[in-house]
């Protein structure tokens, strides 16, 4: 009897315990370990031996490395352009798909295929479409008269980053659309009817009703979008390898190369820690926005 009482009192915790332990072991602990690594000198060679504590030496090395500045700048350009285009195109589509027509739901879900496809496949596919010599992108642009000679999208320093940005926008558009559409569909219809009676046109309705009511959805979508885009890795690694030279190296690729091709795990972990702090800062800005919102 005492035993079953004990079980009933604590059973809630038994349900969450396995999942929670897994998260602590394999998610929370690695974050701390990653920070620890960034203050040590671990390489593949001394992996099983003794590691010295080196203070902020790794951070100094990274910040004074020119590649860091380049990858940081690339990451900012990549994230900014992807978010702007994904969001705007996604929003336009969401507004279009918010009206009723046959086949709407089917098309909305089938567009999500672009988002669900494994990145390796998308990356290979865009690499082929953007090939300089026989790529179908150049063919279309040339037949439309936009280009007069082919662009070597992914092998030229000037365009490589933008080639990967285009591919990533393609992946992100349906995600933005689906989330915004769900937001639009939850808005109360009667507000629009009242606005119509007051003589407000479509544009006024959009600015005065849709945008303010959709604000929470938009804010969380932008924050998630920034965070997801900031950590894009495989797409760019497969399409350009971060090259030519470092023209399309993003921070995760920089970290990967340090840790797994130069085998300096501590330097890689340092870059990852810097990324983590940037992401935390973004989340803080979001939370600050939300609090201000609630106080209004």
């Amino acid at each position: 009897m005492a035993f079953s009482k004990f079980i009933n009192k604590w059973s809630g915790y038994f349900f969450i315990l396995p999942g929670l332990l897994f998260m602590i072991f394999f998610l929370v602990f690695p974050i701390f370990y990653n920070f620890l690594l960034s203050f040590q000198n671990v390489t593949l060679l001394n992996l099983n031996g003794e590691h010295a504590f080196v203070g902020f030496a790794n951070y100094v090395t990274i910040v004074s490395d020119g590649t860091f500045a380049v990858s940081f700048q690339n990451s900012v350009i990549f994230t900014f352009l992807c978010i702007v285009f994904q969001f705007c195109i996604g929003f336009a589509l969401a507004l279009y798909f918010n009206r009723k027509f046959p086949g709407r739901d089917f098309m909305r879900s089938i567009l999500l295929l672009a988002w669900m496809l494994p990145t390796v496949i998308t990356a290979t596919l865009f690499k082929w479409m953007m090939a300089g010599d026989y790529g179908v992108v150049n063919y279309f642009l040339q037949s439309l008269g936009i280009l007069d000679k082919p662009i070597y999208w992914l092998t030229e320093a000037k365009t490589a980053l933008y080639g990967t940005i285009i591919a990533n926008i393609w992946i992100g558009v349906p995600f933005n659309m689906v989330i915004l559409l769900a937001g639009l569909q939850s808005l109360p219809e009667h507000l629009y009817e009242a606005a119509k009676i007051d003589g407000a046109g479509r544009f006024r309705q959009f600015v005065n009703i849709t945008l303010p009511l959709l604000r929470p959805t938009i804010l969380i979508l932008l924050m998630l979008g920034i965070i997801y885009t900031f950590k894009v890795f495989d797409l760019v690694l497969i399409m350009t390898g971060g090259g030519p030279v470092n023209a399309s190296t993003l921070l995760p690729i920089y970290a990967y190369k340090l840790a797994f091709t130069q085998y300096d795990l501590s330097l890689g972990a340092t870059v990852a820690s810097i990324m983590f702090m940037i992401l935390v800062a973004i989340a803080m800005v979001y939370l600050w926005f939300m609090r201000k919102e609630e106080q209004l």
């Binding site: 494994p118 990145t119 026989y134 998630l224 840790a259």
Partner: protein, 280 residues
Amino acid sequence: MTGVRKNKYVTISRTFIAVLFTMAFLFPIYWMIATSLKPTSDLFANPPHLFPKNVSFAPYADNFVKNQEMLGYMLNSFIIASGTMILTLILAAPAAYGLARQSIRGKALILILLLATQMLPGIMLSMPFFIAFSKMQLINSYPALIIANTTHSLPFAILVLRPYFLTLPGGLEEAALIDGSNKFNAFWRIILPLVKPGLLTVGAFCFLWGWGDFLFALTLTTNELIRPLSLGLYKFIGEYGTEWNNLMAVASVAALPIILVFFGLQKYIVGGLVSGSMKD
């Protein structure tokens, strides 16, 4: 009367524009399949054949029948994806249930932790994993990849499953307790069968993520015998260079499970996606 007819024209033209857009947007997927059906000599036709002129299944035969290396990669992908799905569901279903229907202190904190961990960059986990799994001699093993992929899918799975448990009517557990079974029995026999659609959605997502994983496979394996199809394809790009029909045949086969699952579960997937990123 004319109003009704006008309305009909409007909705039909809306559908028409939407169909055109959808087709243009999904052109890359069409192009993958079209390229995979071309003989090598047609790949470099100028202008390119937008519809394959001479359909050839040679790229499929060469990569999946004659050379069976790809089948090994596929089997690995299948093991990793299924393992991820099973481990995630085993951990996530009770956790989501506990967080939905049991009194637990610090619930809000756990939910925030779940949201926050979804945002971790995979590369940040891959270095600690590499070191830890090296020490445990688990580099080049399925368990290492399954655990690594589960870190990606578990927080999402719990967040998506919780609302399913929340919407069940109250009193289900009490009824079961009166019948003499304990809480765990009630969960297993009565509650779980009621959230099957949720389990299906989450299971599908976990499988697809495990199937598509590239980063962990790249950093935690070196042995081709254990590597999944994503890395097989990556290796191919290096080896095949410009034999795009072969590459696209492999890519199409790798995309096939995604497309099948997708069509089977499309309405669940949209719902799952929205609730996973928006709740609380």
